[in-house]
Symmetry: C2
Subunit: 410 residues, 2 copies
C-alpha cells in the first residue's frame, strides 16, 4: 500500500467541481459537486445530535432506499439548513432535484450536504445558480472541490491513497473534509466525502465506514461540541474493476480507508479554531477500549487540561484529576503518565514519566516544559495491565478560541 498523499490527483470515473455561487461575500468558492459517471455503492455516517439538520435527515432517508446506485453529492457552505423546519427539508430535496436535472439522473441518486449558519433558510436562487455552474464545471480539479466546502477552515483538507492488491489490481481512495469551525453565530461543522473506484459490495460499505469512523473521525476532539450537520459519505463506483474478495482484500481496504480518514480527521484538529498545539492522547490498561476512550475524551474536553496545553504546562495534576472523574474505576497506585514530543501512541525512549504509583516523579520541570513547547505533543496514560486502549487526537484551548467564539455575531 502506498502512503497517504495530501492532494488528490485522479480517481477514475469521478468528476468534481468547486465554484463560487455567490454565497460567500469575498468571491471564494462556496459550493462543491462530486459526480460519478456510473452508479455508486454509498454509505454515510451522520451526527448523533438530536437536532439534526435537514440535509442530514434527507440523506439518511435517501440511503435507506438507495445505497447501491448513488451518482452525486452536492455541497453548499454559508448556510447549514439546520433548525429550518419543513421549508428546510423541502429545500434540501430541491437541491437534490435540481442537481439530478443537471446530471440527467434520478433525484434519489443525489446526496446533499450543507454547512454554515444554523437557523436560516437556504438562498435557493443562489443555490440553483451554483448547481448549474458546478455541473458545467465538472472536471478533475479536486483542489477546488476541497476549497468549495470550506467555512472557517484556514486551509483545504484532502487525502488520497493508491492500493495495489495481492493480484496486482490497483484502486484509489480519496477524500476531502472541512472542519472545526463553530464560529459565531454557529457553524454546523464536520463534512467529509470519501470516494473510491474499488468494487465494494453495498452491504459491506456501511460496515467498513462505521468501523473506520470509530477509529478516526470519532477519535478527534476540538471542543467537545457536536454539530447538527456532521456527515461523512463514502462513494464506491467500482471503475477500477478491483473487486474485494478475500478477507485480506477487505483488511487491506479497511486499512487504506482508515489511513485516508485518519489524515482527514487529524487535519480537522490541526486546523481547529485557535489551535496552537496538536495532542496525541493514548489511554491504556483499562478493562475495555470503551473505558479507555471514555477517559481520553474526559481529558481531551477538560478546559483546565486544554488551557494548560496552551500554556505549555506539563500539568499532570489536571490530567490525572480529569481521568479520575471520567466515570471509570481507577486505582491511582497503578497509573503512569508519560509525555513525549511528536506524535506517538504510547511511550518511547524520548518519553518523560511524570506520575506513577499515585504520586508525581522527581521529573525535571524544564525537561517537561521543553517537550510541551513542541507543536505536537503525545500524552500516554497507563491505567493498569488490562487490555483496553484508545488513542484520540485533540488540541489546546487558546485565547483565539475564546475570541473567535466569543465575538458577537454581527
Amino acid at each position: 500500500m502506498s502512503n497517504v498523499l495530501p492532494t488528490i490527483d485522479h480517481v477514475p470515473g469521478f468528476r468534481v467541481a468547486g465554484v463560487h455561487a455567490g454565497l460567500k461575500k469575498d468571491g471564494a468558492l462556496d459550493m462543491t459537486l462530486i459526480v460519478s459517471d456510473t452508479p455508486c455503492v454509498a454509505a454515510g455516517v451522520f451526527t448523533t445530535n438530536h437536532m439534526k439538520a435537514a440535509p442530514v435527515l434527507f440523506d439518511m432517508e435517501q440511503l435507506q432506499y438507495n445505497d447501491t446506485h448513488m451518482r452525486a453529492v452536492i455541497v453548499n457552505t454559508k448556510c447549514a439548513n439546520a433548525c429550518t423546519g419543513e421549508q428546510g427539508l423541502a429545500n434540501a430535496r430541491q437541491m437534490a432535484r435540481l442537481t439530478a436535472a443537471e446530471l440527467g439522473c434520478g433525484e434519489d441518486e443525489v446526496l446533499v450536504m450543507s454547512t454554515g449558519v444554523i437557523g436560516s433558510q437556504l438562498p435557493m436562487e443562489k443555490i440553483a445558480h451554483g448547481i448549474k455552474l458546478s455541473a458545467q464545471s465538472l472536471g478533475g480539479d479536486w483542489a477546488a472541490a476541497a476549497r468549495g466546502i470550506m467555512t472557517t477552515d484556514t486551509r483545504p483538507k484532502s487525502a488520497a491513497i493508491t492500493v495495489t492488491m495481492a493480484g496486482g489490481q490497483t484502486y484509489h481512495i480519496a477524500g476531502i473534509s472541512k472542519g472545526a469551525g463553530m464560529i459565531a453565530p454557529n457553524m454546523a461543522t464536520m463534512l467529509s466525502v470519501v470516494v473510491t473506484d474499488a468494487v465494494l459490495p453495498g452491504d459491506t460499505a456501511r460496515a467498513l465506514l462505521q468501523s473506520v469512523t470509530a477509529q478516526t473521525f470519532n477519535r478527534i476532539v476540538v471542543d467537545g461540541d457536536m454539530s447538527t450537520n456532521d456527515t461523512l459519505l463514502l462513494l464506491a463506483n467500482g471503475q477500477s474493476g478491483a473487486a474485494l474478495q478475500t478477507p485480506d482484500d477487505f483488511t487491506q481496504f479497511h486499512d487504506a480507508l482508515s489511513a485516508v480518514c485518519r489524515k482527514l480527521a487529524q487535519d480537522i484538529v490541526r486546523d481547529g479554531e485557535g489551535v496552537t498545539k496538536f495532542i496525541t492522547l493514548t489511554v491504556s490498561g483499562t478493562a475495555s477500549d470503551v473505558s479507555a476512550q471514555q477517559i481520553a475524551n474526559t481529558i481531551a474536553t477538560s478546559p483546565l487540561v486544554k488551557t494548560a496545553f496552551f500554556g505549555n504546562d506539563a500539568n499532570w495534576g489536571r490530567i490525572v484529576a480529569a481521568a479520575g472523574r471520567a466515570g471509570v474505576p481507577l486505582d491511582p497506585q497503578h497509573i503512569e503518565l508519560y509525555i513525549t514530543p511528536g506524535e506517538v501512541e504510547g511511550q518511547t525512549a524520548e518519553s518523560l514519566l511524570l506520575f506513577t504509583a499515585g504520586m508525581p516523579t522527581a521529573y525535571s520541570e524544564a525537561a517537561a516544559t521543553a517537550i510541551f513547547k513542541n507543536p505536537s505533543v503525545s500524552i500516554y496514560l497507563r491505567c493498569g495491565d488490562a487490555s483496553g486502549v484508545a488513542t484520540i487526537w485533540t488540541c489546546d484551548l487558546s485565547h483565539d478560541y475564546v475570541s473567535i467564539n466569543g465575538d458577537y455575531r454581527s
Copy 2:
C-alpha cells in the same frame, strides 16, 4: 424562616479562628479551625473523583466510625495533600492528632480539609504552628474563618440563617465555602463547612445533607472539572435545644439548609475564575429530573455556549445544539427556548422566546443582546410537557479564564 444573610453573626456553641500560619507568602490568613464546645452529629459529602486527596480519604473513614460526636474541623490552604501517597495520609492523620491535642479531644473527633497545590506534601511544621495558633485564637470571628480557607477566591463566602420553629424554638444554620479556583499548577477546589445548633438525629444528617447537596452544590458548573478534594461537611451540636420531630420540622430544616447551601454554591460560581456573567439555567419538560439535569450540564459545560455568554451573544443555536447531544431523546418540534434578565427559574413577562417548533422566532437581536448584557441572565429550555425539571447555576468562559489557567505555573 428569616432570609439568608451574607455574614455569620453567632452560632451558639461554635468557636472559630482564621490565622496566618505562614503557608501564604503575602501574610494572608491561610488556616481555619472550627470547634464545637460539645460533640456534634456530623455528615460529609465528598468528591466522586477516583483520585481522592488524603484528607478526603481520612474524613470518609473518620465518619464511618464516628458521626455522632465530632468536635472540630481543621482546614489548611496552599497544599491540597492530593497525590501524596502514604505520607499524605499520615500527614492528614497528624493534622487531626495535633488539633485534638490542642483541644483536649480524641483524634477521632477531628475532621481535616486541605486545598491548594496537588502533588506536594504538607509543610507539617507550619501546619503544626497554625493549629496551635488557631486553637489559641478561637472566638467568634467567622469573617476570619471564611478568609482562612480562601485560595484564588477573590472574596470570602459565608451565609447564615435563623429559623423559628412552629413551637417558637429558634436555631441557626451557618456556613462558609471556598471555590472555583483551579489555578495553575492545579488547585483542589471546593470546600465548605456548614454548622447548626439544631438538634439533628445522626441518621438523618447524612440524608438531609445529600438531598440538599443534590439541589445546590451539585447544581453549579464553572468549567465542568471536578477536583480531588471537594468536600462539604455538616456539624450539628444541638445547643439550641430545638429538636426536629415532626415532618414539618424536617422540611423546614431542609429548606433552611438548602437556602444556606444555595447561597454558598452560587457565590462559588459568581466568584469563578474569569467569570463575567452569572447564568441561571433551567431545563424542563423531560421524562425525569435526571434527564433535565443531564441536558443542563451539557449546555453549561459547552465551550461554545460559554464563550457566547462571554460575548453577550444570545446564541440559541449553540444552546439547542448542545441540548441535542446530551444523550437525552429530544423532539426539536417541542423545544422552546426563553431568555430573561436576572435570576429566574423558568419564564416571566420579561422573557424573550428565541426558539420554538424547531425554528428560531423572529425575535429582535437587539432585545436579545440587551438581555445578555446583564450581569445575570436566565435561560429556560422547555423540552416538552413531561414533568422532569432541573435548574443549575453556571457562568461564561472568558479570556481571563484562559489566562489564569493557561499561564505557566512558575
